[in-house]
């Protein structure tokens, strides 16, 4: 019996011996001990970047890693084997045209370092699809990445079958498979497309692109010297490259994954050359997983002219542009002087350790103005137009603005088995949660939280149903008022950009104050403690989703369903 045990031990040692040298090599990383044991070529966790964290590492947390595996696309492969991604191109599409587009793994260079990332059409950002309002186009999509995916056409009021929601409107597109999307463009404006499976990974790695829907009316916008799309993003990297994602579930579930490198149109050193005196129309889109930006143009005057789905009732001069994940704003900016203007994200970050606000400025890019503009649009810029067409459109809905809400939604969170120190810290630090999390104040706790432990929740206060238990039922023609309250007494309140698929809405009230300059939207930011009333114009039949557009929150459960029936065909019909 003793000899059997000894033999067994020898076998065990023999099996473990090839692993031990690798383990010793891995032990060199960071402050961690007791990593996941590397098995062959599998990826191991390393300490997440703690940029700007002033909090001392709490006892008991130094050795911890998220309770999910680590994942990176193309891990262990030679990065040079992937094709180099190209800068985005504009694809002008006429009514009835077809675009063939894939999602693939590519090689991209950011700040002089190469990464394996993902791209639509081999481009970063994906190709800008440009079409006229009222037209219809086809996109033949092929999945060439190593994960299932779909494409969601954000903000378009298109037919439900092409909304890109796995399990609801289509099956996932597996690797090597294709799907045909039919797009239609009923509303002028800037939209974007992105995956609707593991967005925290695929979207973060570069799967996003714009759709610009041009007006068919004359003089729809004021004249400008040039038009420029700006897609705002960030990405998380460290000395070893891209920081891994959670394999089975997202990490960074509490606050979302903040990046530490800012990107504009996929690059970290964006520059636009113009002539002094030009008025530039920027189409801003925020595709970051979680970061809300406060965009400034170094003193250049800014006029916001349009929101997600329509122009504002009245154009408005602003000092900066606040843009939440998934939102779009169209802004005209007047660069009157010949100089370099910094495009920045200017915020008041929170230092949780010291309990203070700390001003931070992140460089997003530059606009270099020289010479003199050939065409003078300064006078047109100086006028803040009143858009009678938008007002007339919204006039049809004003009688519903003060109706009682049809649905009352509370934004909250449920947790299970979160790290005990996280629980204790959150209990200590509950005196104040800011309206907007502009920065990642607690990077370690954030990184350790997974979508299994933090379940972000949409609570229907009228029925008690939560998240995907909710299936509101409406009919075409309904004007549905939803009151959304971001509960500050929840475990970790945070701002949420709330997105409704397939329909458009206006924000009627914010904290009881009537919104006096409306526009049609598909995504609205809801600060902590605030109550937002939205009125949904229900026009599009089918099964749809509404959800928080922080990628990690979405995949931690913060979504609900609603079904739109044809008029007279809903469950309430005939009552």
């Amino acid at each position: 019996m003793h000899s059997n045990r000894f033999a067994g031990l020898l076998v065990l040692v023999a099996l473990l011996t090839p692993i031990l040298p690798a383990q010793a090599q891995e032990m060199d990383h960071s402050m961690h001990m007791n990593h996941n044991m590397p098995m062959g070529d599998s990826l191991v966790w390393r300490m997440a970047p703690m940029d700007g964290m002033t909090m001392p590492m709490m006892p008991g947390m130094m050795d911890d890693i998220p309770d999910v595996g680590a994942f990176l696309p193309g891990f262990g492969m030679d990065v040079s084997m992937y094709p180099e991604a190209k800068p985005s191109e504009i694809i002008d599409m006429a009514d009835g045209d077809t675009l063939h587009m894939d999602a693939s793994l590519v090689r991209r260079t950011i700040d002089g370092r190469e990464y394996v990332m993902m791209a639509y059409g081999g481009m970063y950002p994906g190709p800008l699809i440009r079409a006229d309002r009222g037209s219809k186009v086809i996109v033949e999509f092929t999945n060439n990445i190593d994960m299932p995916t779909t494409v969601h056409w954000h903000g378009l009021r298109l037919d439900n079958a092409f909304d890109g929601i796995p399990g609801l409107t289509q099956d996932p597109v597996e690797t090597g498979e294709s799907f045909t999307y039919e797009l239609k463009f009923p509303d002028t404006g800037m939209y974007w497309y992105h995956p609707h499976m593991r967005e925290d990974v695929q979207q973060d790695l570069g799967l996003y692109g714009n759709m610009l829907v041009d007006p068919t009316e004359e003089d729809y916008y004021a004249p400008v010297n040039r038009e420029v799309p700006l897609i705002l993003d960030d990405i998380l990297v460290d000395a070893n490259g891209l920081f891994p994602y959670g394999e089975e579930a997202p990490t960074h579930a509490l606050m979302g994954r903040f990046g530490n490198v800012m990107l504009v149109n996929g690059i970290s050193d964006y520059n636009l050359d113009i002539q002094a005196g030009e008025v530039v129309r920027f189409y801003l889109t925020n595709v970051a997983n979680t970061r809300t930006f406060n965009v400034t143009f170094d003193g250049a005057r800014i006029k916001v002219i349009a929101d997600d789905v329509s122009k504002l009732e009245r154009e408005q001069f602003v000092s900066s542009v606040i843009i939440a994940p998934a939102e779009r704003y169209i802004v005209d900016v007047y660069f009157d002087e010949a100089r370099t203007y910094d495009i920045t994200n200017s915020i008041q970050a929170i230092d949780h350790f010291r309990g203070i606000f700390v001003p931070e400025t992140h460089q997003l890019g530059t606009v270099t103005a020289s010479g003199q503009a050939s065409e003078d649009n300064a006078e047109a810029f100086a006028e803040a137009r009143t858009n009678e067409d938008t007002i007339a459109d919204i006039d049809n809905f004003r009688r519903y603005f003060d109706k009682a809400p049809d649905h009352n939604l509370r934004l909250t969170i449920e947790t299970k088995d979160l790290h005990p120190m996280t629980m204790r810290m959150m209990e200590v630090d509950t005196l104040y949660f800011p309206p907007i999390e502009w920065n990642e104040g607690m990077p370690m706790m954030n990184w350790l939280s997974t979508g299994e432990e933090a379940r972000w929740t949409l609570l229907d206060e009228d029925t008690g149903k939560k998240s995907m238990e909710i299936n509101w039922q409406w009919e075409v023609g309904d004007k549905v008022k939803i009151r959304i309250f971001n509960d500050p007494s929840s475990f970790h309140p945070m701002n949420h950009p709330f997105h409704v698929h397939g329909q458009r809405f206006v924000i009627t009230h914010i904290d009881g104050v009537e919104n006096r300059n409306m526009a049609w939207k598909d995504t609205a930011i809801i600060p902590v403690g605030s109550t937002i009333d939205i009125l949904v114009d229900v026009t599009n039949p089918g099964k749809w989703m509404a959800h928080c557009h922080i990628a990690e929150h979405l995949h931690a459960g913060m979504m609900l369903g609603f079904e739109v029936f044809e008029q007279g065909a809903g469950p309430q019909a005939g009552r």
Binding site: I322, S346, F357, D402, Y432, E461, P488, G529
Partner: protein, 249 residues
Amino acid sequence: MKNPVKARAEATNQRFQGRGAGRRPALFCALAALGGGSRLPLRHTHVLPPDCSSRMFCPDMTRKFPLYVGSLLLLSIAVLASPTLDADSSPAEATPECSLVSSPDYYEIDLVTTRKVSGARLAKGKGEVTYAASPFGISVSEEGSYLVNIDVSMSNVRLDDDKVLVAWVTTPQLDQIKALGTLDENLQVTGQTDFNKFLLVVTLEPRDKEPGAMWTGPVVSRGMSRSGLMHTMAGHGPFESEPCAVYGY
């Protein structure tokens, strides 16, 4: 940490369960008004009884009418409205049109009297905080500081004819002071600030002088912004490494 406002609302709501969803909102408003004060339960709560399918926020009658008049009026509405409500109709359709008129509880500032000023020793007050108008739903300055409107209101104050109340905001370090304005005959004023953390201060000032760079009279009431409650962990507790006084709190 139990939210006291929520707890009070839950207690109020529990009393009204089972009395008919259709009648509930008007009765809520009426009985809340009888309860006195400007804090109608439904205005400051976000908890409903399980069978109440709409969240009603009724206009604050107590600012415009004496309490007993307001109560009588609301009771009359409840009596007159009740027979017209269809018990089978959706509560959302049957309820009167009321708008949300409350600022978020979370950022509301309680003004606490200093008890030092004659005529105002039992004064009550609050600062309701909402975002300045913005096309983005939330308003910040170019540097990222929240730009907020503060609706200041006081009650239980008797002033001499030559005195007024003036509202101010100041940083916790008192290094920046800004006048929000003079409270009117209803003891209300609205102003704006972009201070990250601030104290809201109401002082007694001469009627015949415009507010200057800072107050000259005694402090009647004061309160702290919600953001001002953000405390330093560096100054105490397991991470103490610096004196709390460094951060003024």
